[in-house]
Homo-oligomer: 309 residues x 2
Amino acid sequence: MSLNRVPVLIVGSMAFDDLELPTGAFPNTVGGSATYASYAASTFTDVRVVAVVGDDFDGSTLATLEARGVSTSGIERATGRTFRWAGRYDADLVGRTTLDTQLNVFADFQPKLAEEHKTCPIVLLGNIHPALQTQVLDAMAGPQLVVADTMNFWITGEPERLAALLGRVQVLIINDEEARQLSGIHNIRRAAADIRKRGPHTLIIKRGEHGALLFDDTGIFAVPGYPLEEVVDPTGAGDSFAGGFIGHLASHLAKEQPNPRTMRTAMLYGTATASRCVEGVGTSKVQTLVMSDVEGRVAQIRTLFELPR
Amino acid sequence: MSLNRVPVLIVGSMAFDDLELPTGAFPNTVGGSATYASYAASTFTDVRVVAVVGDDFDGSTLATLEARGVSTSGIERATGRTFRWAGRYDADLVGRTTLDTQLNVFADFQPKLAEEHKTCPIVLLGNIHPALQTQVLDAMAGPQLVVADTMNFWITGEPERLAALLGRVQVLIINDEEARQLSGIHNIRRAAADIRKRGPHTLIIKRGEHGALLFDDTGIFAVPGYPLEEVVDPTGAGDSFAGGFIGHLASHLAKEQPNPRTMRTAMLYGTATASRCVEGVGTSKVQTLVMSDVEGRVAQIRTLFELPR
């Protein structure tokens, strides 16, 4: 770890994914929100991850993470099998069907934070039970920026715990359907206004191939999705977005506190990171990502809304 | 008509729409692609329209068009009933179901061009039979810019006539599903490359609330949809986009030939015009649109992709 790098804490899932893609079946692919987000963020800064794996998890993934500057000491190795997700993508790679979800060791996950985790100035609370997300915040020494994800399962199943969490989150990153479900409002702009009253001063709404929208007190910012000639595997795109987003903010934190401008720039970096991720199966692209790859894609994305002279 | 204004020719449908919106039923609403596009373009420049209506069409619409600088002498009044479309929108105003289509006098429509139509430097060929679109081009005195729309009905039903037309079109404006159907390619970037090989040097792909993409030799340009707090009626949004798009190009033609920069700026104006249109039922908003309304919305759209200082 470099002394002048601002570390980020990432809490979330590590998993084996059985992927059925139009290009073939890819069983036992290493995945999970914390894995994608950590690989992504490690392109920008030092990362400390808190997660749980089973005794079937391969050590090579931990070694690859460590080689990229990810502290894996917070990854608990529990007795039992690793969280497993199986999904089949439609031919268009937009629709997907969950075939199987096995929580396994993730069912009893209790995040355990060491000193190096508690002191991180930025935390990404991946999509886990809102009570656990809150526990992580309780254990931390007052992070400067709390970024969180959630999903429909918690929105409908744990509305009160989620509401308590939202009051302590500055940036919420969800997709458009989740925003509609959380607010009960179809119109995305009014949904955003409603959700921002519940805590997060900044709401980011992911829209897959259509990019992402940011809502804050300054207004609305829209980043288009970069139209790729070939999308290989959308798995982990949202987590890679979040990792790139916090990674960029962390890499600028020494110079500048998060503000409407850095948040918008971070949107570009998150979008670029996600679009690199989906160019390969599983974490293959994001685990080898370097800043020049990200900067190149950011430049391509900028051309999407620049007027030529 | 002002002497220094560049007129545009618009050919398309004029109709009565029976609209079932979440906010209520609006039977006998004046609509049609030429109507929306003419109102939209008349905000920018002089418009000359070629279309057909039945003897049931109301003169007040023609008077309203004329008052906005639209020459209606090319609107043929045929014996019989005006083209009629009935549709029901879903609660989200995205999905819609066609309940009824009656071609009526539109079934035998043969565009008849007078001298004032033949000499227009810009023509918008609305969504009519590609053989008729070709006839219009044959009758014209070599327009500087040919912009066309089409739909799935012609893509599957008249592929050869459509192919012949595309060879003579510079700008094709279609939606993403039509682009996929026309090219047989799901990936939107490769679909665009395929379609551009068939004639149009510029392809605009409309994506509803997600905005629009432009593909040309310079690259890709993306305009986000403006997130409105309330969408009232999406009918005519695409036609208003096309009208605003050609209107902007015409208003700049004296200074500058259409080029990648003016095309991109015209995308902003088309998007702004469409987003004003959907704020009211039918043509209510677009028929009273003034440039300050459009400029105001363009400014709002620009903030969507500007980084604050």
